[in-house]
Amino acid sequence: MLDWILEIFDFMPVEASSWASRVDYINNVITVISVFCTVAITFVMILFAWKYRRKSENQKTAYITHNATLETIWTIIPTIICFVLFYFGYTVYHEMRNPPVGANEVFVKGQTWYWDFQYANGKKSTGELVVPVGEPVKLIMTSADVLHSFFIPAMRVKEDMYNGNYSYLWFTPTSSGTFDIFCTEYCGTQHSGMTAKLKVVSKEAYNDWLNEKKDPSAEPVLPEVTGKAIYTAKCAACHSLDGSKVVGPSFKGIYSGAKHVLQDGTEVVVDDNYIRNSIANPLSQIVAGYPPVMPAFQLSEDELIGVISYMKTLK
């Protein structure tokens, strides 16, 4: 019967890491104890209140002021429960904080409102973390500016990161699929847009993906495709495509030759080096009426060409 109830009230996300089931087990143990105590004590309170409700004006009440044995019992029992629950939590968490030696390392950099990943062989990816199923992976994380926190609900892991310090977390994905990654430490306007996807794939798919960049023989990818990928990963959080203002100006019809007034009053027509310049150091060319919050991006030459050609396709 208990499992049936736990089944209904199981709101935890899918158990996708090695310890997720144990974490959920601990959570269920605590929840059962809590709900039992709350319901029992409330029931007893309401029972007493109703059973001894005031029937006559000077109803005889028992003059009980204290009961030493009862009081010691209900002090010791919660303390024992506390010990037990702490021990449960400690054992699993101890494992969470000690990554195995051979775990493959991925570097994570949180920057205002997007995630950057870099693998051991130097492959970079933005907004998408690909890991092989069944193998432990250790994320070594830092932030380029403010506090961020790397949270994967399905893996039950979370760790803050701040500039000038490396924090780490590790997990072993047990089931493949795509999972959400959130930033849970408040970091400004697009804090709710700072999400990424965790793709858990089979070992082979992971290796192909990892070495994708290495073989030059693959047919050249159209610049607009890489541009679009960069747009969705880095720019979508602040620049929309449908003309609406998110944080920065919208990219709708950006190459239509329309005049834009900058903050310092100069008028400018969008062209290649305007885009190149406002990616490299954006604060020099902020369009009037928009907050100067755009961070600088270091894009390689082919990525820049990709972004520019993608923008040209936007009508």
């Binding site: 601990i26 005889k60 009081e71 939590g89 306007t189």
Partner: protein, 559 residues
């Protein structure tokens, strides 16, 4: 409680009392009467409670639907930040101690006024002065969250500087009140009112004053360092010049955990006063509750780390803080058992204060037990900074401290205003409030379990966005009912204060010392200082054959 003081006829309630012995704004603003200062605190705090509540409704309405519903991200960030700052620094931290504490402490210990009446007036002026800075922070668009975590709080210098100045000045007002109460309780108790006869609300105010005096200066220096960091860039919290944001979190939470006990202890004191009166039974385990109150005040300084389990603290310290945090649950559990044991074999009267007190016990149990999910390290890795935490602390602050404040306002209402509110209307408003509150925050527990992070303006990019939207919608609808419940209660009390039927000096014939003066009490509280000969929870002593110290009664009880 010696019975001779009960012969007070009601001749006093009609004529001169602290409300009408002087008229005009200046007589209130310049008053050094602890009762008037308590009332002024109450009015200004209800005003800030309303502003905070409106901001909460804005936040909830934004989250009703996915994507941008009514406001954009920046305004949403401002709304939840100011909701936090106003509710915590301006409403609930001065909360019960400044209003009911100011009003009742001298009455309960048989004094004419607090030890330093002018210091009491100064602390109210400092409180008002501090609130100006809070409005300044609103003007400068503060959007850093009420915790001002650096390095993000170094980006909007004018807003954070005015907000830290507001919190610093309000903290100073809190210290002045704390010092005033400590000296009053130590030095001005009525003759015969020894420490083991002190009412439990006074014990709770004592423990709160201890916390206010010990913890508040630490947030003072932390915010001062943050202020100087923003003003002169001293580099203490800026990581790129070698500073350490985790140091800010340590210093901030070193104050901010004791402050949650400053919020909840007075409410517990109020409940410990109300339950014996309406079950006509002495409080069960008086000494246990006293030790629990002072014990929580002591333990609260050891556990601040559980707010920072994922913030980059070292692993050993995380285990240590998790271990210590579990011991915070024990005193609270003891108190809850004592309250329920008090009702046993009593003669319970379901007046609105009693309903609020019993609701407090139920809601605080949910708050306490969900705290255990957050104290256990394994589950906190999942729950930290999600809506589970939001629901937990709203149950603790709203379900605990605010319901406790409302219980106190209802119970001592005849004493404060000399009139009675409409009892039936109060019960309706209570039910509305209870349903609205639970409806708002139970779905948020579920949201937290599903991993919805805190302070998110928009959840449209999540994988299971439909369930999130469904839960947020329920929570928002109930939050309207919750807001309606709160305002109805205030309307009822406001109307009762002006037009309510006249109340007798002791409508619930409680044995507390504050009920022995006419209500509303005269300017000087007591004509002659009463002599206290017994504790103030002797309900039903006439039926039993031994007194509360357990020794047989010598004098034969009158038939």
């Amino acid at each position: 409680m010696s019975n001779d003081t009960n012969h007070h006829t009601d001749k006093h309630s009609g004529d001169v009392n602290y409300l009408n012995f002087e008229k005009g704004f200046m007589s209130w603003w310049m008053s050094i009467d602890h009762k008037r200062i308590g009332l002024m605190y109450l009015v200004s705090m209800i005003f800030f409670f309303a502003i905070g509540g409106l901001l909460a409704l804005v936040v909830r309405t934004e989250l009703m639907k996915r994507g941008q519903t009514i406001i954009d991200n920046d305004t949403y960030n401002m709304a939840f930040t100011l909701h936090g700052v106003i509710m915590i620094f301006l409403f609930i931290v001065p909360g019960v101690p400044a209003t009911l504490g100011n009003f009742l402490l001298p009455l309960m210990i048989g004094a004419k006024d607090v030890a330093f009446p002018r210091l009491n007036r100064l602390s109210y002026w400092v409180y008002v002065f501090g609130s100006f800075f809070a409005f300044l922070a609103i003007y400068f668009k503060l959007d850093t969250g009420w915790t001002f975590y650096s390095p993000y709080s170094l980006r909007n210098a004018p807003a954070v500087m005015s907000a830290t100045m507001a919190a610093f000045v309000l903290g100073f007002a809190s210290i002045l009140t704390g010092v005033n109460f400590l000296v009053t309780i130590h030095k001005m108790r009525a003759p015969g009112l020894t420490w083991d006869r002190l009412p439990l609300f006074v014990w709770a105010t004592y423990a709160t004053a201890l916390l206010q005096v010990i913890a508040t200066p630490i947030i003072g220096i932390t915010l001062l360092l943050l202020f100087l960091e923003n003003a002169f860039g001293i580099g203490v919290f800026r990581p790129d010049v070698g500073g350490d944001p985790v140091l800010f979190q340590h210093l901030f939470w070193f104050y901010s955990h004791p402050v949650v006990y400053i919020m909840i202890l007075p409410a517990m004191g109020i409940v410990s006063e109300i339950i014996p009166v309406f079950s006509r039974k002495p409080i069960f385990g008086y000494k246990a509750i006293v030790w629990a109150s002072v014990g929580i005040a002591a333990i609260s300084f050891l556990v601040w780390g559980h707010h920072m389990f994922v913030s980059g603290m070292s692993d050993f310290v995380r285990y240590l803080f998790s271990f210590l945090t579990f011991f915070v649950a024990v005193p609270t559990a003891v108190k809850v058992f004592n309250w329920v044991a008090t009702i046993y074999k009593g003669s319970v009267e379901f007046t609105s204060p009693m309903l609020y007190a019993m609701a407090f016990v139920f809601l605080f149990m949910i708050a306490g037990t969900t705290g255990i999910h957050l104290a256990t390290l394994a589950t906190d890795a999942h729950y930290h900074d999600t809506y589970f935490v939001v629901a937990h602390f709203h149950y603790t602050i709203q379900g605990g401290a605010v319901i406790g404040l409302y219980a106190g306002l209802h119970f001592w209402f005849p004493k404060i205003f000399g009139r009675m509110y409409n009892e039936k209307f109060a019960k309706i408003a209570f039910c509305l409030l209870f349903i609205g509150f639970n409806g708002t925050f139970l779905p948020q527990f579920v949201l937290g379990m599903m991993g919805m992070p805190r302070r998110y303006a928009d959840y449209s990019t999540f994988s299971n966005v439909d369930t999130f939207e469904y839960l947020h919608f329920i929570s928002t609808c109930f939050s309207y009912i919750n807001a309606l419940g709160y305002s109805l209660v205030l309307v009822n009390l406001g109307y009762g204060a002006v037009k309510g039927v006249k109340a007798t000096a002791n409508p619930y014939n409680s044995l507390g010392l504050e009920w022995q003066t006419p209500s509303p009490p005269p300017h000087d509280n007591f004509e002659t200082i009463p002599v206290v000969t017994d504790w103030s929870y002797g309900y039903g002593e006439e039926y039993s054959d031994h007194d509360h110290n357990g020794n047989k009664k010598v004098v034969a009880k009158p038939a």
